[in-house]
Symmetry: C4
Subunit: 348 residues, 4 copies
């Protein structure tokens, strides 16, 4: 089976992963409308490609908070990589480093932050955080991450409670006994979300700021109002995200929400996006609408499920090649030439 595009990896993963693991990765909340909208929304955006521009020298590099990456696609925080591949997040870290891009490590990883760091020393990594009722747990995680050289702190804002993912309920999803939420061992029982604190508010950004010098990126923003609050509370970045459609069903596609967030932010902080990226041209659309970089969630897991590090690298390479080609065919030789003029919303 030739792996030509990301859907090929999806088909493979669906076929070969244990059903309970596939269902967990694929799950959306309720009717999965938002999960599916994340993808459908790209189809309503049309390019306005420009011709006869010199695209012989393509430069697809960009910077994340000042650090150069090889192209504007990073790896979003998703949990439980060992469900997809035995080496879990260690493999993910190695590939991200090899591809010179950013990997956002989930709190719910099945390897420790120390193992992940040791697997790929010097790689660009951010740490994704949930705030726990027991604030000491969160504080310790933040400080471990900073000490290990993580370069950013990503606060997930859209999970005061876990969304209702019907298949996980039906399957009675829980981690197999040989896997652990290793970063949280001792802190609470595996796969029970209630330790997360639903009383977190914007003021807790100040508390986080007091714990660390790392830049703070807030993940899960979908409105201009919250984007404005994020800027005012001093974050360095915003990830427009709906948690892959796994939290509130019925919210907007991230590519649609990006438009209003980017307009509100007006470049005061960097804006990123995750959700629905399946092709290089999706990346180009997101950049045209104001994202500095996008992050992939499920496709990275499909790559791991296919062939571990090699599979994930294939996924990233395909996206990289497709992105470079889409840019060239749209008439852009470097990321700086991408802008709002490049797209229009279809009347459909």
């Amino acid at each position: 089976m030739a792996m030509v595009c990301l859907s090929d990896f999806e088909a493979y993963a669906k076929k070969y992963l244990p059903k309970i693991a596939w269902d967990f990765f694929a799950a959306g909340a309720d009717d999965c409308s938002t999960r599916d909208e994340n993808i459908l929304a790209y189809k309503r955006i049309r390019f306005r490609p420009r011709m006869l521009r010199d695209v012989s020298m393509m430069d697809i590099r960009t910077k994340l908070l000042g650090t150069e990456i090889s192209f504007p696609v990073g790896i979003a925080p998703t949990g439980f990589h060992q469900l997809a591949w035995p080496d879990g997040e260690k493999s993910t870290a190695r590939v991200a480093k090899a591809m010179n891009t950013c990997y956002i490590v989930s709190t719910y990883s099945t390897c420790t932050l120390e193992e992940i760091s040791a697997a790929a020393p010097g790689g660009l990594r951010w740490f994704q955080l949930y705030i726990h009722r027991n604030r000491a747990v969160s504080q310790q995680l933040v400080q471990r991450a900073e000490a290990l050289g993580f370069q950013g702190l990503v606060l997930t804002a859209d999970l005061p409670y876990t969304g209702k993912r019907r298949d996980d309920v039906r399957n009675g999803f829980r981690l197999p006994p040989h896997m652990k939420l290793k970063n949280l061992e001792g802190a609470f029982e595996v796969c029970k979300m209630s330790p997360l604190d639903p009383s977190v508010t914007w003021n807790d950004i100040y508390w986080l700021r007091s714990l660390t010098h790392l830049p703070i990126i807030i993940k899960g923003i979908l409105t201009k109002e919250d984007a404005e609050l994020a800027v005012r509370h001093g974050v360095q970045g915003i990830i427009v995200s709906n948690h892959g459609g796994r939290q509130l069903d019925g919210g907007p596609a991230t590519i649609d929400a990006l438009v209003e967030v980017a307009e509100a932010v007006q470049g005061r902080v960097e804006v990123y996006l995750d959700g629905g990226i399946r092709k290089g041209s999706d990346v180009l659309k997101a950049l045209a609408l104001g994202a500095k970089c996008v992050f992939i969630g499920r496709p990275a897991l499909w790559g791991l499920a296919y062939k571990g590090e090699e599979g994930l690298q294939d996924v990233l390479r395909i996206l990289q090649d497709e992105f470079r080609l889409s840019m060239a065919l749209a008439g852009c030789a470097s990321v700086s030439e991408i802008g709002r003029h490049l797209v229009q919303f279809s009347k459909l």
Copy 2:
């Protein structure tokens, strides 16, 4: 079979109810466009969820005309509950009381008002009324209901004649011989609608007012013009309803009609909605667009068909849990925080 969401109860009921009963409950008029639109219309409404708001203490209670209920979902008037469960409306009444919510008892119930009241003393109940050609029949019903402690009178306005439900015509639907329209025994022959008076007009509200001290709620309003008339004729509440799509096919989805009704009413009376509620997030959308409470019709019957009182309670609990979770994920800790700002209409 795990009952995770309301569709699970629908699938069960479709499989296990006698076809003639399933068809009767499921029926819509003509092509069933309006019945189906009731559901589809929710998919065109997008949340604008807000993040980092303290949702640790959730308060989902609301009030119906001053009486507190546990959450803003009541039971709409539907006929013939014994078709779904032997104890019929007595079971429905018990569950509504146990869940502390409002049950609108249909004129076409298969238990008497007295049996229903005795089954769940002290429960919050409204009585749904059709006006008969023989006004004495209606007068007697209203006065029986008031005497039995019903707390509201719901006048159905959209049934001067019965809609054309093709499957009922094909099936030659009628009640099995052991079931009766018990509240009307002696008044007219079972399942023959012609006794209803198609000459009823707004002035008959004054006549109803003269019969009872109960608040009058009018059910079946779909336009701002009629909403204005309802307010002017002194009703206490309006239920935006298209009779589950069983009357005029081609009318608007109730969630769409709600917008114009709520705008016209401007809070002068309470506005409710029935039709198409299948998930907690649907309830949230309806409240955001101006409903004080919603009522479920078919899902209550599916719950009864599944396991009687236990099944109906499952249905209400699922809606309650989903509604609470949707509120929290949208950033609302109490019903009073829900408002128009929470939703937008999709361009699709």
Copy 3:
């Protein structure tokens, strides 16, 4: 099989008519987009039904150019009724008279105008005309019709050439040898359309006017520009029609074109519609948007195919009952209460 709605007759006809006849009746031009749009367009129109209006006495009669008919549905001109039922147009004429409505007899009928008149003396009939290269043929037809008591002359304007109906080409459609275009015998060879004159212009209305005292109704108008020209050339009525989608594929649904035609005409002449009427509520929508009456084409043929006169009468009765019920449920007790306020166009 219970015949409950018009689709039941369609299914019957599709199953029992010879394929070549079914295909001929069902045919649309090219991709059949316009044929299908005729039906789909009704689904985008939403009622704004009004409640609590006295609908105990329903009056569904209307007038066509001053002549009362029992309800605003007539029979459109379609050819070759003997393909559907042995007695052909004689049966159609008898039913139209029995139902007290108008039958527009096609030039391409398989019975003579004389036979048709004799079959149902005194029935309200209009004669549909194509203008032939040999004007004497058309003149003779007009004068025969007038002499036989036809009360209107319907000039078809949208067939300078016959549309491309793929199935008819594939089937090599032609009439069976025992059927004839009896009104044209001797005038030209059966089923060869070239005798029609593609040079007809608006001035030929004056020529027709010189031949007859009958009111002239023009059929096939789809734009406000042509509606204006029709009024200026002195016609008495306009039928908004796209020939059932059998001529130019890609034109508008007739219910959509009706809006602009009715607005342009402003009541100066009567406006009718054919195309896509399948339910009583479709009739109500057409009247709300400005039609004085609608005409059914294919459904009449399905009725004939089912049981001849009895079948056609069933079709008309069903439409009549559905129309009356839709009116009542929308809050209109007489045709004069129907108006533009009753409908809105769906955002979808």
Copy 4:
């Protein structure tokens, strides 16, 4: 099998061509959205047909840069005609001449320009050019074409790199060993696109102008900005094209892009279109929206695949007949009567 419309030829070709050849001709980039949009977009355009205009004498001729052709449909440049029919482009040239229309010969033809010219002396032909890194190759091709009597030079602007056509990657598409890119023999290895120069810019139009007296037509323009640049750089014609959806996936349908290009150009140069033409009425829509002529790509190949010259002639004759009929049914007797007033965009 009766060949009634172009889809019949498509079905034939899909069935009888080798899969690898069918896939190559059918291929679109990525998800094939743009390829499919090219066709779907026509369905959203509605005619506003006019009635009772004298259409007895139909004149469907037009002129391409001053040269009369029999109707406004030419043959777009597509490669590798021998994959469809042994005689390849020689057959195509013969049919174009017989039908008195224009054939744009692709650089990637499997016959030499000399063979093609000799096959149909005196036929109207334009030559399609890619600019190679080795400019001498391009210069020689242009000058050969001019010397052979080609009357126009079509510069393809949308292929700095080849689009990602998944099926071609999966199939490992390459020409069979007995076929050659004959015009490029010696210039570079068969089917390796890298010799094309991705650094081409608008200034290269001046270079081309210095090489030849032929009119220059630029192919691949999709925006008003590039249309303006094309006019300013002195081209004689613009082909609105997205390369059949084979280059940048996610761009607009050509019929949609035509509107903005034609508005920007305001008649200063001729505007043409390719992409999605499947029926005579599509041609009419394109002309109504500003195209002087359209070109067909895949349908020509289907015709060749069916029966070589006879098949291609069938395809063109069908389009010609359908176009003439559509014009007549829309009320236009000559191409000069076609205009923007003839169409509107559907709300859908």
